[in-house]
C-alpha cells in the first residue's frame, strides 16, 4: 500500500509554524490519498511480493519547498513524477529459512496505470475563475475548486471544500478546461522524465 504525507515546513512560507502538521497539510495528505485511491494509478496487487506474506509499502513524502498557492496541483504532479521514477528491487523469499533476500542489482520500474492531473481554480464572488492561483490570489479568493482528471477524460476527483457557491454550468466549464490542461501537462511530464532517464 501507499502512505502519502504532505509536509508544509516553515521553510516554504511564513504562514506555517514548525510543530505538528496543521489542518492544511493534513487535508492535502488526505486529498492525495483519495486521488491515488480514486484514480487507481497504482493497483495494490502490483505491490505484493508474496501472497499473504510480504508486500511493499511506499511512503510518499511530499515536502513543499516554496509555497506560492496551488499546493494540491503541485503535489499531484510531484507524486506522479516520483512514482514514474520508482524502481522496485526484486525480492526472493528463501523457502527454507522463510526470510526475504533483496537483490538491489535487479530492479523493475513500478507500473502506473493512470495519470491523474489536478487543475485548481480560485473563485471570486461567484463569477470570476482563475486557473492556477498564486498565494496572493488564494488569500483573496472566496473559494477554490480542484478537478483531477485522467487521460480518458474521467473525473478522479472533484474537490470543492466550501467557499462561494458555483452553478452546475460553471462547474462544467472548469471540468472542460481541466481536461484540456491534462493533455498539456502529460506531455510536459513525459518530456521531463525522458530527459532524466539514464541512457
Amino acid at each position: 500500500y501507499l502512505v502519502p504525507n504532505v509536509e508544509l515546513p516553515s521553510l516554504c512560507s511564513e504562514r506555517f509554524r514548525s510543530g505538528p502538521p496543521g489542518e492544511e497539510a493534513q487535508a492535502a495528505s488526505q486529498f492525495i490519498a483519495d486521488v491515488i485511491e480514486n484514480s487507481q494509478m497504482i493497483v495494490k496487487e502490483d505491490l505484493c511480493i508474496a501472497n499473504g506474506k510480504l508486500a511493499w509499502v511506499l511512503y510518499c513524502d511530499i515536502i513543499c519547498l516554496d509555497y506560492d498557492g496551488n499546493l494540491l496541483d503541485a503535489s499531484v504532479f510531484a507524486l506522479l513524477a516520483a512514482l514514474k521514477n520508482v524502481q522496485l528491487p526484486s525480492v526472493i523469499i528463501n523457502e527454507e529459512t522463510g526470510l526475504s533476500e533483496v537483490n538491489l542489482k535487479q530492479k523493475t520500474p513500478l507500473t502506473i496505470r493512470k495519470y491523474p492531473v489536478a487543475t485548481s481554480f480560485a473563485i471570486f464572488d461567484d463569477a470570476l475563475l482563475i486557473v492556477d492561483p498564486t498565494a496572493e490570489e488564494e488569500d483573496l479568493a472566496t473559494g477554490t475548486v480542484t478537478i483531477v482528471t485522467d487521460e480518458e477524460g474521467r473525473l478522479c476527483s472533484v474537490h470543492k471544500p466550501g467557499g462561494s457557491p458555483l452553478t452546475g454550468a460553471k462547474l462544467q466549464d472548469c471540468i472542460t478546461r481541466a481536461i484540456t490542461r491534462h493533455k498539456e501537462v502529460k506531455k510536459l511530464i513525459d518530456k521531463v522524465i525522458k530527459s532524466i532517464m539514464p541512457k
Binding site: E24, N38, G143, C156, S157, V158, G162, S164, L166, I175
Partner: protein, 194 residues
Amino acid sequence: SIPPFLSAGDTSVLAGIYGPAEAKLSKELPDRATLEVLLRPKVGLPGVLERSREQQLRQTCEAVVLGVLHPRTAITLVLQVLSDAGSLLSCCLNAACMGLLDAGLPLSSLFCGVTCALGPNGTIALDPTVRQEQEARAVLTFAIDSSERKVLMATTKGSCSVEELQQCLATAQRAADTIFQFYRDSLHRRYSKS
C-alpha cells in the same frame, strides 16, 4: 434546550454550536468571526480524515455565516458522530446547518448535504447505506445552497464520467428541495409550541 440531533436512516450526528464568543488573540480576525469546526468520530481519536472533513465543513459554513456582523469573535461547531450507516458527510452538513439555525446565527442562505452513489449498472442511489457505498463505482457528496441551488461543496470518491457527475448534481439539486422542506417542518414544530 434540546440540541440539534440529526438522524438519517441509522446515521446520526449531534451538533453543538458555541458562539459568537470571545476569540483567542492568536485566532481572532479584525473584521469577521472565526469559525472552527471539530468533528469527533464515534471511536478513536480524530485523524487525517476528520481534519479534511473539518476543513470542508468549515469553509462551507464560512460561505453562509455572515461573519462580518460579529467581528473578533469565535464560533465553534462541534459534531459528534453517534452512528455511521452511510452518507456520513451529508448528515454532518445537515446537522451543522440545523445547528446554525437553532443557534440563531445570521446566515445568508441555508445549505443541505446530499450523497449520491453510482451503482455498477449506472443507477443513482441517494443517501446510500454503507453497503451501497462500498458496491458503488463512485460516491459523490454535494452541499447545495437554498437560494439558487448552487453547489457550495463537492467531494467525490471513486472515478466517474463528466455526464454522470452532471446527472448526480441535477438529482442532488432536486433532492435538496425535500431536505429544505424538512428543515422548515422541523423548525415549525419546534417553535410553534403553545
